[in-house]
């Protein structure tokens, strides 16, 4: 296991390098440049040129990449062109906010998704199955930013029971686990949970139905095991498949949803990326995407390890 872990971690190094290069190229291929975005539209050419020198954008792209990478490996992702603040600090703070939101969404989504999926799979073909499947299809099909706006209209505008935007009366910097702050989590978390509910539900449903049709289940029942114990065996057999899907879904959630975070002005990575894109804040864009990409690599390793732990049939040489 240790050697597998070390090998997986070593594999992540070329992946991270490749990702860095791709990010750098894509960000620079996009139209517009950060200097145009920060200088007033009518800034004269000498001011623009001077700014390029000040920010290092006068150097050839390979040199810029090498300089950026050199700093990035030491954990220094540079400073935001827009705010002048440290990219690492801003990204980590946004990552924390996104993790908070996505864990809440994951908890809601995975619990409901797995629960509904199990019920549907166990009752395959019956009314309960059809109702649960309808929920799953709706969850996958409904545009979640639209759902977010509808929830805001109902619960914030009409009923005025939940806030529409932000992360608390004082923002994320003075977050506290009290009602004044926690109520800000509810609408975005529910909106974000809708897709995992659908996907996890469908996966669980088909896995449960498949396992229930296997001979060992009949054998367990024939042996006289109670239905509760039989279901326990089904759950253990379904778990690896569902966990793999949950891992991927968690990855997507943790990547931050640009649309949801923008609709709710939630100060996470999605909102950060959105702002950085529109302000052509290249250091911020590069830093955020790099951190998110590494996060995905890390999550894949973690999911692999959990799968190995819960399913002894999976051997890692």
């Amino acid at each position: 296991m240790i050697s597998y872990l070390i090998r997986r971690l070593l594999y992540s190094v070329p992946i991270a390098l490749g990702v860095s290069l791709m990010i750098f190229m894509l960000v620079h291929l996009a139209p517009g440049d950060p200097i145009s975005a920060i200088a007033p539209a009518d800034a004269p050419p000498d001011v623009i040129e001077r700014l390029k020198v000040d920010y290092g954008y006068d150097k050839p792209l390979p040199v810029q990449f090498a300089l950026w990478l050199g700093r990035a490996v030491t954990g220094d992702l540079g400073r935001s062109v827009a705010t002048g603040q440290s990219v690492s600090g801003e990204v980590m703070s946004a990552v924390g906010n996104t993790i908070m939101l996505s864990l809440c969404a994951a908890l809601v989504g995975f619990t409901l998704g797995a629960g509904l999926g199990f019920v549907a799979g166990y009752n395959q073909g019956r009314l309960l199955d059809k109702a649960a499947t309808a929920i799953a299809i709706a969850g996958i099909s409904v545009p979640h930013y639209w759902l977010g706006m509808v929830l805001v209209i109902v619960f914030s505008v009409q009923m005025n029971v939940l806030p529409a935007v932000g992360m608390g009366p004082g923002g994320s910097s003075d977050w506290a686990w009290d009602w004044a702050h926690m109520q800000h989590l509810i609408l975005p978390a529910i909106t974000l949970a809708v897709i995992p509910i659908g996907i996890v539900m469908r996966t669980t449903r088909s896995a449960v139905a498949e396992i229930l049709n296997q001979e060992f289940v009949q054998a367990l029942r024939a042996k006289g095991l109670s239905e509760r114990h039989v279901l326990g065996h089904v759950v253990r057999n379904v778990a690896p498949t569902v966990l793999a899907v949950m891992g991927l879904q968690l990855g997507y959630l943790l990547g931050g949803s640009i649309l949801i975070e923008t609709v709710f002005s939630w100060p996470g990575t999605g909102f950060l990326l959105n702002t950085a894109i529109f302000r052509r804040d290249i250091p911020m864009l590069q830093g955020t995407i790099l951190v998110l990409a590494l996060f995905f690599v890390f999550l894949n390793v973690v999911v692999d390890l959990i799968q190995t732990a819960v399913d002894p049939r999976i051997k890692r040489a």
Partner: protein, 539 residues
Amino acid sequence: MHIKKIQRLIAAASISLSVSAALMAPGVASAQGTLRIGMTLADIPLTTGQTDQGGEGQRFMGYTAYDALVNWDLTTADKASDLVPGLATEWKVDDADKTKWIFKLRQGAKFHDGSEFKASAVVWNLDKLLNDKSPQYDPKQAAQGRSRIPAVASYKAIDDYTLEVTTKEPDAFVPYQLAWILISSPAHWEAVGKDWNKFALQPSGTGPWKLVSWTARERAEMVPFKEYWDKTRVPKLDKLVLVPIPEAATRTSALRSGQVDWIEAPAPDAIPSLKQAGFQITSNGYPHNWTWHLSRVEGSPWNDIRVRKAANLAVDRDGLSELLGGMMVPAKGHVLPSSQWFGKPQFDITYDPEKAKELLAEAGYGPDKPVTVKVLISASGSGQMQPLPMNEYIQQTLGEVGIKVEFEVVEWNTMVNLWRAGAKSDQVKGANAINFTYFIQDPFTGFIRHLDSRLTAPNGTNWGWYNDPEMDALFQKAKNAFTPAEQTKALQEVHEKFVNDALFLYVTHDVAPRAMTSKVKGFVQAQNWYQNFSSITVE
């Protein structure tokens, strides 16, 4: 990971379980005397002095926390605002040498950190923008400020309260230029270790509001600066909170749900229902214009004055006003009709399609031979209002008189680059016009930068390569008009030529709609890009 973050994660697990209970609880009430504003910006503007993010950045982070030597009068709504003394109490050009200006500075003004404002602070601030050898030179602020003071050649402190500014050539618009330059505290910059990034976290200016805390992309909090030199502008509120909410629908929801008390630029289609729900809607004309800037390069159909006049007569501005829910002032010229520079142009910009057709026929066009123009437009952008439906509307009304319009739609950042590149550039792909809205608050931004023949690309933003010695002479005359009356008269002549020659396709002026709760009292919406928040109270 931070311990605080881990605590958040653990606690996060318990939250979703409390969803149903949460739905039943009431919202949180705000403190008395606190005004929370939902801005259209996606981020807090630069806090160090020279703000970024255009007019809105300067409105909320510039003239709140800082002062310029020369300020704008933001106290009245019924006339165009003009310059008033700020950190300078008076200024005059030397009678013998028109390139030399003397500014008498205000005594007793203090920065938020308690240090005293003196002439040396102005020199220090100008060095911050113009002198890259000075330790306080700040590229970020220079990006915003350098281009605003093109006339300034040198400057020095004569004594603690007298400043001398020398210009490159006689230029009567120096006070307007200096109204852009906001004065940061040199003593505070020293105190925070000569680091602008640290200064940004705890800024210090001389303005009526003190920025006490801010979090990027989330909020900024300001409190009154009780020792502010102008006692009539000491804020009445306890606190001003700025919240960036770039999405218009979200901004409206935040207002309706009571999370903010005021929003900038509600979507036009939300205004009737906001009014119905008891929210106040304020609006007023201000120095903004929404035009098509016309190409005058060889081969452009706009080189014929009859085509330019026909286009101006073909736009049904009342219909457009309906499209925008009445939130516009139909253009009668380059500046608002209430502007002191409007003058008495002879060409009356109105809706007269028959006259437009006549003019086009005179110019040799007709149903079988329409004028064809290609226009650069953006899908969104700073000050662009609702560019897509508005342009489509204009395309339709121009089409009705025989002007066929094709659009090249580009993203806003690209649009800015195309505007800088000018009409002769290959990048604009033969476009004959660009739909670029303008900040037209002072003579340079309002008139000169668009049509001075010396300011074609790459030297400036005379996009259309317009070149008329008569206009250049009028600009020179205005620049050499050093008394207010002379200057106003000269600028009226400039504006009359703008209109009489139909140098742009004039469409509309924005009215900066704002929606606020009925608890907000005392706001006077000045005809200006900036506003005064000191007179406001929240009941």
